[in-house]
Symmetry: C2
Subunit: 298 residues, 2 copies
């Protein structure tokens, strides 16, 4: 078994998209560059979405053009549909991410599709990706709880995951979109998914709304998961819980993971500089809960 855990920093997309200030292209590139310098192996750079609907992600193509090159970083972009996929292909984006919610009401409210329609659209994109030999992964959103339906049944998550893998998704990110999961539920679901599909096909994505972000990462590690999303400085919010804290902070989970004896390849001192930059640029990134202590260790 490998001793590596891979962290994908989603601050530049999930983080920036869910906080009030719109950053310039230069500012977004500077944040990503700080993350590259800290040794992040994977970074979610932006989203190919309508700039009217999501002004914070406007100009993601320009951000991609200005990224540090040849650093071995797995840069990714969120794509809502086939049009986003085409943009990603044109720009030669190494990894693209689709999203399907495990909860039907979430799909309907978020993208005005039923789960079946969303699965069908995603399958089409995954089919095109296969033909063009492109790497597309899929997020299974609201995998534990939906803001509209409440608790999501594990069978629903298994079904959606199965469909996406069969359609060709290279990887599945199981997401606690609203930060509602407790670690026992994380351990239970991720153990089942790992047994069914293999832990190496899976990542987890947690928010810290209920202060369980770090505990959920631990529970998922115990279930065999070795890839995680996190957001520098805990950047981001949650559209369904105004005032709630954002994604689990990268610095907090790097500390956890390395203390547990795994390797991340991340330089903590430079990661804290990236965290400071996130706070400086947005005014809202709170910094990881362990940041005060981490800064004393430098």
């Amino acid at each position: 078994m490998t001793n590596q855990i891979v962290i994908n920093d989603v601050g530049p997309r999930d983080g920036l998209q869910n906080q009030p200030k719109t950053l310039s292209i230069e500012e977004r590139v500077s944040l990503i560059t700080a993350l590259v310098e800290a040794g992040l192996p994977a970074i979610e750079v932006g989203a190919f979405v309508s700039p009217k609907a999501v002004p914070a992600m406007a100009g993601t193509d320009e951000v991609f053009a200005q990224l540090p090159k040849d650093k071995g970083v797995n840069y990714s972009a969120l794509i809502p549909n086939a049009r986003g996929f085409e943009t990603g292909v044109k720009l030669n984006v190494p990894l693209m991410s689709l999203v399907v919610a495990a909860s039907s009401t979430m799909n309907e409210k978020n993208i005005r599709m039923t789960t079946a329609q969303s699965m069908s659209m995603s399958s089409d994109v995954l089919g095109m990706a296969k033909e063009l030999n492109r790497n597309v992964q899929a997020y299974v959103a609201t995998a534990w709880e939906c803001p509209f339906e409440g608790i999501v049944q594990q069978d629903e998550v298994l079904k959606v995951t199965d469909g996406l893998i069969k359609a060709g998704a290279s990887h599945i990110v199981v997401a606690d979109t609203i930060g509602a999961a407790a670690p026992d539920a994380v351990h239970s679901l991720m153990s089942k998914l790992a047994a069914e599909f293999g832990a190496d096909k899976l990542s987890c994505h947690f928010h810290d709304t209920r202060a369980m972000g770090v505990a959920n990462v631990y529970a998922a590690i115990e279930a065999g998961i070795r890839q995680f999303d996190a957001s520098i400085g805990g950047l981001g919010g949650c559209p369904f819980a105004p005032g709630a804290t954002g994604n689990v902070a990268t610095e907090d989970i790097v500390l956890l993971i390395e203390q547990m004896g795994f390797e991340t390849g991340i330089n903590m001192s430079k990661l804290l500089e990236a965290s400071d930059l996130a706070t400086e640029l947005t005014g809202t990134a709170r910094g990881g809960h362990a940041k005060a202590w981490l800064k004393q260790q430098k």
Copy 2:
């Protein structure tokens, strides 16, 4: 197996002792009263220590005299030695707590005794307690890591715990005094201690310095532990890591525990009022990481 988890709020002692402001007797009683009203089953009220050495705990006898009566709360006091025990006996304190560190250097720096001397002094007090039929528990401090020695060996913790139980301690609180433990180490040690001495003899006490407080409570629950210390609003600090956050916040772990399907008997709405009061009185209690979200649920 019981579905109850017992929380002992140590904010009025461990919390107030480790933050800069000295509260009046009335303020201390008001904080404890708010915790009683929130339904806390156990509260650490104060310490019978030298008022010169620890001004924040001066007048603990007066605080005891003014506590809400007949509420079924397990009130406790920290006692450093036989003299503290005698004070507790005089005041009819229902539960007294001794502290022995698992790390020898910690005992030497903290109380100028070797571990053997500290064990011998504690055994004497526990012997007196047996004779007088009084309830005395013991903290095993620095059970995972010592600020002077680094990682503490599990065998040391097992040895000290064994000695204290044999000497008559009614209960053992295993404490991560400096907030250095990671959840995998918590699970490992608490599983061994529970197998050796029984989970019902054991509590855990965590600080949130490295943002792992909630994860550590989860790991200990998974190891069978059903009693925890926590501090209202995350009140407190850590003398060995200035600027670090304090004990794990009561509101954060009540949320975790209840979402995992256990009962605490605590009223969250009133607990948040107590958390607000802790912040108002001290100016430093940060509030649990989940507090913003919890307040929206009211």
